[in-house]
């Protein structure tokens, strides 16, 4: 191994640097970051309301009237994350700043934002056509995802076109809404399902698996049986049943994928902790009389979490696929567009409209592929022997 160690560099930084020095992981990361940006700023990228209008010398931002609390929180978090990334402060401080920003934006959103229940999408287009405004700045995609009526004579199932006022970059679907706009808004569902479901699974898995590994013995035996019970649950059928009884909510889907998916993480964490328990530095921590909390979460978890993160990046990909599959079966969330649901629509229409299948399908493919690339690079970085064998990293 080459010596590229810099003074005072932590192990986790070293791992990340090694992982993201390969081109595969970088491509994956770029795509996911791009997607995260699109998801957070979706209302500013694809909206029927103009970003900025000038009416009789006065400036308005009509788009703000339609923002929800969720939109505001997401945007604030994304901007703060970008800013904090470069600041030299500890991870814990960053976390608390993020939590603070989250709380503040919720409060601000609840007190100032009140999006109208009924949205008349064409009102701005009509006013633009009527010449009410001096000038207008429209979003990149000037349609909301559920903006069905077309006043420029556009029709449903229109192929992608880039000319004129009625440009639809990715065509329109069977009810006449803009595919590009739906794609942008659907990225939210995909990303949030991936992150939240995996987050729930890791949280439960680390807590149960960690204790199984540390205490071993009888606790471990009972824990492993619980893991086996959860592994026997057919997740897809459970999802179908829940969706049938409790409605097609994206949150229910997240929770179910999370609650049934922790067993794999628990196994990994357990195996790591069983190994770490006998490590000299853990024994030294016990001999120093440190509290159990510190031994478990400060001395053991950071050393055992690397393989979990690797599995997690594959887990995110599989959660996205599960949601897409549900939506494809027509059982996905109703309240928001999703890539799987769009694929379903592509299949339903009698003629094969390539743009309705290619774009959402391609997005699912790229996202899952991106996560898998990152997972692979992380795994190789965590296990340097593997890296040199596979020849992935430098």
């Amino acid at each position: 191994m080459t010596k590229r160690q810099t003074i005072g560099e932590s192990y986790s930084k070293q791992i990340l640097r090694t992982a993201f020095s390969g081109w595969g992981a970088r491509i994956g990361l770029t795509w996911v970051l791009f997607l995260a940006f699109i998801a957070c700023f979706a209302p500013l990228i694809a909206n029927s309301a103009p970003l900025l209008v000038s009416q009789g010398g006065e400036l308005f931002m009509p788009v703000i009237r339609f923002l929800t609390v969720q939109d505001l929180v997401l945007m604030a978090l994304f901007i703060m994350l970008l800013l904090l990334w470069w600041l030299p402060i500890s991870v814990a401080t960053k976390f608390w700043i993020m939590a603070g920003v989250c709380a503040v934006s919720i409060v601000v959103g609840l007190s100032f934002l009140s999006p109208p229940k009924l949205i008349i999408y064409e009102q701005f287009r009509e006013q633009v056509a009527a010449g009410v405004y001096d000038w207008v700045v429209m979003p990149v995609i000037p349609y909301s995802p559920s903006d069905y009526l077309r006043d420029f004579g556009d029709t449903a199932l229109q192929a992608p076109s880039y000319q004129g006022v009625a440009a639809h970059y990715m065509g329109t679907d069977s009810v006449g809404s803009d595919v590009a706009s739906r794609m942008v808004h659907a990225s939210r569902v995909a990303l949030s399902i991936g992150f939240i479901a995996t987050g729930i699974a890791i949280f439960i898995g680390v807590i149960i698996g960690g204790q199984m590994g540390y205490f071993a013995g009888r606790f471990d035996m009972l824990g492993m049986r619980l893991v086996e019970i959860f592994e026997a649950i057919p997740v897809l059928f459970l999802l179908l049943a829940f969706v049938a009884f409790f409605g097609r909510s994206v949150y229910i889907i997240m929770v179910i994928i999370g609650v049934t998916g922790w067993s794999g993480y628990a196994r990994y964490v357990r195996a790591e902790f069983l190994k770490l328990r006998k490590q000299d530095y853990v024994q030294a921590a016990v001999a120093s009389g440190l509290p159990l909390r510190s031994i478990l979460f400060r001395h053991m978890l950071p050393n055992g979490v690397a393989p979990v993160l690797v599995v997690a990046s594959f887990g995110v990909a599989s959660a996205i696929l599960t949601e897409a599959m549900l939506s494809f079966l027509g059982l996905g969330p109703v309240e928001a567009p999703s890539w799987g649901g769009m694929l379903n629509e592509a299949v339903k229409s009698s003629v094969f409209n390539w743009w309705m299948a290619a774009f959402p399908g391609g997005a699912i493919f790229l996202t899952v592929f991106g996560y898998n690339l990152m997972g692979e690079a992380l795994r190789d970085a965590v296990d340097p022997q593997l890296a040199s064998k596979a020849g992935v990293v430098s």
Partner: protein, 550 residues
């Protein structure tokens, strides 16, 4: 013409754009029936040198810009031809490897294939080099060679799998396999380092006997001068890829000319100046600090569906000890004798099955983890493996300060940092090291940090679990001297676990000899080492390779 003639060998290793000059101009020659010992500290290039000779280095990484290795290759016909091993084709090399030059490795646990029986492995090696040999013939030769390495009832052990053999037996099988084809040169890369001293003595004797019988040459790689004194005819000392000194063994060991050789020889525990009495705190009438009474640590063996306990592994079996205040007690024994388990049971890292451990009349057995926590700072431990003894995710500062915070030592953070710096200086490190991660340190430095972690809590009693056995001799000497100084400064009592008798004689006041969980002999170091009473202690002491030249 000598059998092997290495001239100006250079081996460069390429990794990630960097070139490491692992072997940098080594010349040596070995005659028939001669043993050449390569000595040096870890990383000096002695193994790479051997691997270059037999051409086992991966072709993509290693290159030989200069030098040649002339080997007198004995042909089937009986002719002898001089070949340069560095320039030989792969197919030709394969005929040399194993048949004319054989190699045995350090790790007997991993050098045998676990899915084949030992007999099959020897037969395979035989038939590879003698294709005309029939199955039954090969089996006969294999059994003979097993017999040669003194494996008892070789015909029955022929079908045994490696896991049924002990470390020493596996190394014997490796030697049998290496010698089955009657090689002219045997390369032994630290073949006894992973073995206990008594087993090491047997293996060394075996190699010597076989050499006398077969007249082969041996290139023996080791870091132990005791082994050198016993085995070598000629010796070469390596330092960072260069052969700094070579010659007859008696010349080098008696009158070393090069500075480095002198340093190495001076660092051997036997040659270290005995610490003067000002560093000794030992007093035979001192009070007992730690007393161990009838201590048992048994691990249950469970069998069957209901996991019934059928028997126990008695790792520590009825041990009684009294460690006096201010003394250094050495705990010796071979691997698996229970010395580490005993030490861990004393400081309650391993809960004893029964018995009592008292520190200053405070009973420790049976206390809950919460009750133990306030007592923990009084007794600390330092570990063997410099790689795993420090948490790789935490800076040295955190490692040192967290225990202080947990026990309320020092008033605030600045105070604790000041104290951590003081302790680091005590172990001869400095303030800047506080803000680094463990991977930025060498093995010896990590052992010092491990000691510092134990010292920050102001302990009275420290268990040192083989803290020097993973270190090179010169670093070991520094750490041992440091330990004596700290002991004197901080008024400590030590339990020093080791398998190195020379270290025991250098360091300890009292010694305890353990065998299969039991204490077989204990007493003052001078009396136990000078006049051992127990048979086992006598075998152990006589097996130690000594640098005795007279």
């Amino acid at each position: 013409m000598s059998l092997l003639d290495v001239r100006n060998l250079h081996t460069y290793l390429n990794s990630g754009g960097e070139v490491v000059k692992a072997v940098d101009g080594v010349s040596l020659s070995i005659d028939k029936g001669e043993t050449f010992c390569l000595v040096g500290e870890s990383g000096s290039g002695k193994s790479i040198c051997a691997l270059s000779i037999i051409q086992l280095l991966p072709a993509g990484i290693a290159s030989h810009p200069k030098g040649e290795v002339q080997f007198q290759l004995r042909k089937e016909s009986g002719d002898v031809e001089s070949v340069n091993l560095l320039a030989l084709e792969d197919t030709e090399l394969r005929k040399v490897r194993g048949a004319r030059i054989a190699m045995i490795f350090q790790e007997p646990m991993s050098s045998l294939n676990p899915v084949f029986s030992i007999g099959e492995q020897i037969v395979e090696a035989l038939q590879l080099h003698n294709p005309e040999m029939s199955e039954s013939e090969a089996k006969m030769v294999a059994i003979q060679s097993l017999e040669q390495v003194q494996i008892k009832s070789p015909a029955e052990r022929f079908d045994d799998y490696p896991h049924r053999l002990s470390g020493g037996q596996r190394q014997r099988v490796m030697i049998a396999m290496a010698l089955a084809c009657k090689p002219d040169l045997l390369i032994a890369d630290e073949p006894t380092t992973a073995l206990d001293v008594t087993v090491q003595a047997e293996i060394l004797q075996l190699i010597k006997d076989l050499q006398a019988k077969n007249g082969m040459a041996v290139l023996f790689i080791t870091h132990d001068f005791g082994v050198v004194a016993q085995m070598a005819h000629k010796v070469g000392v390596m330092q960072s890829g260069r052969l700094v000194e070579s010659g007859l063994v008696s010349d080098i060991l008696r009158t070393p000319k090069h500075d480095y050789t002198q340093q190495l020889l001076a660092a051997i525990p036997e040659n270290l100046a005995r610490p003067d009495d000002s560093l000794r705190l030992f007093n035979e009438n001192a009070d007992t600090l730690v007393s161990v009474t009838d201590l048992n640590v048994w691990f249950p063996i469970r069998k069957g569906v209901f996991r019934r306990v059928v028997d126990h592994v008695k790792a520590v079996d009825c041990v009684n000890l009294n460690i006096r205040k201010g003394s250094i007690m050495a705990l010796v024994g071979e691997s698996g004798c229970g010395k580490t388990t005993l030490a861990r049971a004393i400081i309650q890292l391993q809960r004893p099955t029964s018995g009592s451990v008292k520190i200053d009349d405070q009973e420790l057995c049976g206390l809950s983890e919460d009750q133990l926590r306030p007592i923990r700072p009084r007794m600390q431990i330092a570990f063997q493996d410099p790689l795993s003894s420090l948490n790789p995710r935490l800076k040295v500062a955190t490692t040192l300060i967290e225990p202080m915070t947990a026990h309320g030592i020092g008033e605030n953070k600045d105070d604790r940092i000041a104290r951590a710096i003081k302790v680091l200086e005590q172990v001869q490190l400095s303030e800047e090291h506080l803000w680094r991660y463990p991977h930025e340190f060498s093995g010896g430095q990590r052992q010092r940090i491990g000691l510092a972690r134990a010292l920050v809590l102001n302990p009275e009693f420290i268990v040192c679990d083989e803290i020097t056995s993973a270190l090179d001799v010169s670093v070991q000497a520094e750490v041992l001297q440091l330990l004596l100084e700290i002991r004197q400064q901080s008024d400590l009592t030590l339990l020093f676990i080791t398998h190195n008798i020379a270290v025991v004689e250098y360091l300890s006041d009292e010694v305890v000899v353990m065998k299969s969980g039991r204490v077989v002999e204990q007493g003052l170091t001078t009396s136990v080492c000078g006049n051992p009473q127990d048979i086992y202690t006598q075998t152990l002491l006589s097996a130690v390779p000594r640098l005795n030249l007279s």
